[in-house]
Assembly symmetry: D3
Homo-oligomer: 244 residues x 6
Amino acid sequence: MRIDGREANQLRPVSLDLHFIKHPEGSVLISCGETKVICNASIEDRVPPFLRGEGKGWITAEYSMLPRATNERTIRESSKGKVSGRTMEIQRLIGRALRSVVDLELLGERTIWIDCDVIQADGGTRTASITGAYVAMVIAISKLVESKGIKMPVTDYLAAISVGIGKNSELLLDLNYQEDSDAQVDMNVVMTGTGKFVELQGTGEEATFSRQELNSLLDLAEKGIHDLINIQKKALGELISETK
Amino acid sequence: MRIDGREANQLRPVSLDLHFIKHPEGSVLISCGETKVICNASIEDRVPPFLRGEGKGWITAEYSMLPRATNERTIRESSKGKVSGRTMEIQRLIGRALRSVVDLELLGERTIWIDCDVIQADGGTRTASITGAYVAMVIAISKLVESKGIKMPVTDYLAAISVGIGKNSELLLDLNYQEDSDAQVDMNVVMTGTGKFVELQGTGEEATFSRQELNSLLDLAEKGIHDLINIQKKALGELISETK
Amino acid sequence: MRIDGREANQLRPVSLDLHFIKHPEGSVLISCGETKVICNASIEDRVPPFLRGEGKGWITAEYSMLPRATNERTIRESSKGKVSGRTMEIQRLIGRALRSVVDLELLGERTIWIDCDVIQADGGTRTASITGAYVAMVIAISKLVESKGIKMPVTDYLAAISVGIGKNSELLLDLNYQEDSDAQVDMNVVMTGTGKFVELQGTGEEATFSRQELNSLLDLAEKGIHDLINIQKKALGELISETK
Amino acid sequence: MRIDGREANQLRPVSLDLHFIKHPEGSVLISCGETKVICNASIEDRVPPFLRGEGKGWITAEYSMLPRATNERTIRESSKGKVSGRTMEIQRLIGRALRSVVDLELLGERTIWIDCDVIQADGGTRTASITGAYVAMVIAISKLVESKGIKMPVTDYLAAISVGIGKNSELLLDLNYQEDSDAQVDMNVVMTGTGKFVELQGTGEEATFSRQELNSLLDLAEKGIHDLINIQKKALGELISETK
Amino acid sequence: MRIDGREANQLRPVSLDLHFIKHPEGSVLISCGETKVICNASIEDRVPPFLRGEGKGWITAEYSMLPRATNERTIRESSKGKVSGRTMEIQRLIGRALRSVVDLELLGERTIWIDCDVIQADGGTRTASITGAYVAMVIAISKLVESKGIKMPVTDYLAAISVGIGKNSELLLDLNYQEDSDAQVDMNVVMTGTGKFVELQGTGEEATFSRQELNSLLDLAEKGIHDLINIQKKALGELISETK
Amino acid sequence: MRIDGREANQLRPVSLDLHFIKHPEGSVLISCGETKVICNASIEDRVPPFLRGEGKGWITAEYSMLPRATNERTIRESSKGKVSGRTMEIQRLIGRALRSVVDLELLGERTIWIDCDVIQADGGTRTASITGAYVAMVIAISKLVESKGIKMPVTDYLAAISVGIGKNSELLLDLNYQEDSDAQVDMNVVMTGTGKFVELQGTGEEATFSRQELNSLLDLAEKGIHDLINIQKKALGELISETK
């Protein structure tokens, strides 16, 4: 029994609040338990310099936390004048993950900017960001498909989840902040709707892990991703089915 | 008749969603029409270097907009590596305004950090920030009063509003983004519950304004502030009345 | 009787030393009592990106203080690697004020750079900067009028002054550093030669102020602006009269 | 047959040039094929602020490439004034990996600084950095063990290698730059001498990968790590055997 | 005959305007022809970290140019957010030069901050800065001698001058901007009142120079330094003679 | 007799390891005693903005030290986010020195980037950088001469050396770190193969120096430069003789 009463292989309650902010082309507030992230997708009609004239699009992400998303106030990165290594790692991860399920040639010479702003954090902010950003991105791209007549470039569903080995060596799905702080091993998994891996990042700073433990963690992650994608399907409904 | 159907002297609908984020000592989501700002107040048990050993507290504010709070995506200040002049002006204004209604000696050697994060913008973000931040600050300070047994240091209510002269020379209260873009003269007024001025910032970039126009604008602002403080009173209820 | 022997409504001695630096198109050393600011105006034959192709000009200002303009040496902003919020606020104010009396379409696609460098500070540096910068700008623009045959784009005189409420609640015009440090309320007023307001910034960090006090402060400011504009008229002489 | 004539499961020639630079406590030049990295370990007698007084040590890493380590000259990060996201990711990875095989309490209140400077790059610079840095760190720590009489805090061997899926879907060990550029899937694996995982980072930007492919990649990585650790054992010889 | 009518070995008119700014402990406006530099000396009662507890003082310098000190407006270093290599070179040179004629142990644990702000430039700004800063420093130190009763720590006079080889291979003393732009070889020489070298920096970007040419340039520099030190002696008068 | 057993006028052992790094157009590892610098020359087919369309080339240099090139670890300039004044001075010096022996018009609209990375420091890193960078540059330019058929633009040999006055007033050639730390006077001299001066930088922070001492130092420097250029000639061999 976990500290919040969940089963080992149970997700926290997930909600997707679509069209949360009015200006972006796609906007979702994702809540995974007490973790809440505003995911906005913006479409820009040009690509970064390294892609100009290639006839392909690009997807890039930025991630940030409000200073009091956390229990102790953290200093604003704009005040420090630089973005931390942790933030850079996360935004690079979100961008790579989303690009894996979009046909960038079908997208055309456009950039999709993903902004993930964590307004309340309780563990799993990077995986919640990917799962929510996917939904915001699909909404934004659907508008493009409709208004510009391009072929739907999204090729699959996509979600992310954390798994880990707790302080008593128990296997855990979707760790909250307390569990994450206590964990011996922490792994983030990004998978598609067809069950393929996109990213796998496992780290055992407090402890190493065996091949067998890895296999058990991956089983747990596959279960969690499957549940998340069902929630995405329900939220996106007709939208994604008609466009795919 | 204004573009959103309001009277010249009518505020947009205002709502105060208390305890919006769970971690901060005080947290409010303020909505003024389509402008939405998360206002968080954090208490830190020390003061900046220039105040150490003076037996007085400090209140400081930071302000930021999500990139897609606006119609066009704006670049994140953390990515640019510096805070804009506009942001600095606003956060200095919020801090000064709040300090005017708090007895810093009663507060003791503590800093109150105010974070105003605009998640959706439609004009008047700085005045909404002050009006919302006041409420978040009172909630945070009330907890201090209760837990530390200090005497209530908040000395008055405080709210802020914009007034302006529109493109057809009409006087306007609480300008939305469209009205603000078209305005000839724009003025931000911060006042207390007892009807005193705290800050007055009027600017006529497109046009100058006469002493008589100034007087009419101030009449309008007084009316708006009065309405806002009534909303604050209702939201804070017992909290402020019992602590004052 | 004030600490330097002035009447409440009396300006400090003002001098305008024209053509102080040889390179700029317009250059003035303004002294207001012990406050001394070098105001240089430079003309550049292009506009910032947001104005390109609009057929309009732009006026922008930078403000700085020498490290020992003040009683205690302050750290150079170039050494700190960033410009303070106070500096940004002031340079934005100077730019807005000057743009209010110039017809930017008559100016054509040119930028006027105003540099206000305070070499000695004794209160009122931002208002002295505006009053002096106006004169430097007129000199620079007059050369343009002569050499390029454009129509004189300067539409009015412009000056700025501070007023305030002192520690004994006395109303004061043109506060020096000591008076400014002691003041309960501080207000900066920018007005045109025809008596219209351009900017009004009043702040009561130590105290709030009533509508009646505001009115008395504005009366005082109008008197001071009138005196300053007379000094500008004398200094500019034929220059402005023939070109207007 | 691979472009450089290797078998699919064959490492590039590896050499470890010990004591390469004279000043550091530990120094190694590691060559993995044409990739060459100077790995220096420095010992500092204090820890970062977050660990002070905890009685534990710390290990941190910095990574950099000379501008012409690469085929095209890259801009120096000191000239740009900021460290890229890629660099931050790599230096965080190196630090975490090394900390996993050191008992930080035995190390005592000391920091080991690892500097990995790539002087020539041909793929696999982050894994070569970890493998070489481990050796430099052991040399530095051995000196501490000898001079300070602490118990040997290094608990296991440690090496890292890349595996991937090539453009023709072939599985590859230790990809060079050309193979890495062409790869569909790229994975970096850090393991200990006892065959446990420390870090696992797999990414399929061009393609996703199945659970079965993951298993084949991990088999390949285990083989490569085993070979690397044998090379480390030979290089460290008595040093590590007598101190463990 | 030179472009401004001087002899080859003739200085431009030099003036030293003592006590130019009221706040600093020492302040001089030096004019060398059209080059004008405000030199301020400030005394701080502590030393930088690397000297704490050594019982010695320190002298450090900062140098800056107003944007319109030059013919074309240059961007402010505070706006660019960093100090240029040229500025750093010059401020390091000024600091070293002044330290060479001060007994830092007699100075005691104090820092003298030298600020050289060029308000108008016409060549030779770094040498004018040194010559003027020496005078400002002596004034500031004299006050220390008087108020703190320390023994006079200034050990000698100090001045600096430029020499060069012009476009027609003529030898020139004290080059103005035009001459400096045309010069084949440019050399800055800092010397003491007793004729010893403190700094010698010669550079021949457009041309190299022979040992014989070097000797002729040094003869010229010695003559110029001698003239400058006579001017310093006259300006400082009793001050330096009674304190030495 | 010097601390490392050399004569006063004797260089440390010098070696030039050509083609040290495989990617750059020119690459040399220069060792001067225990000082080791990797000098890479890169050719870029465009020039900086200020030279565009002038039909001339440019040579620019960057200099850096690995953190443990020194006895105590120094902080990486990329981590500090800015390049130090010392680094800037050195890289400006290297660039100027190399430009003095290249006909930039013959070079054509190309930039040669010189990167000098000190991997081990024991005094004289800036002079070793110039001497080594010259060789790397000649190798790179020779390839241009061959592949593009331009006329050889290198006009002379070039080397640099330090001379100084030691703590016992002895004259010293090629100071190592210990000698440099103890020296009263330190001078860096850059000369051509035909015995002309390119740069001369002498500084006496601890002591001043007379005209006669200067002459003795220059004699010593000429001897050292002569020896260095003989070593360059041997290393470059046919390369430079056939191309000149």
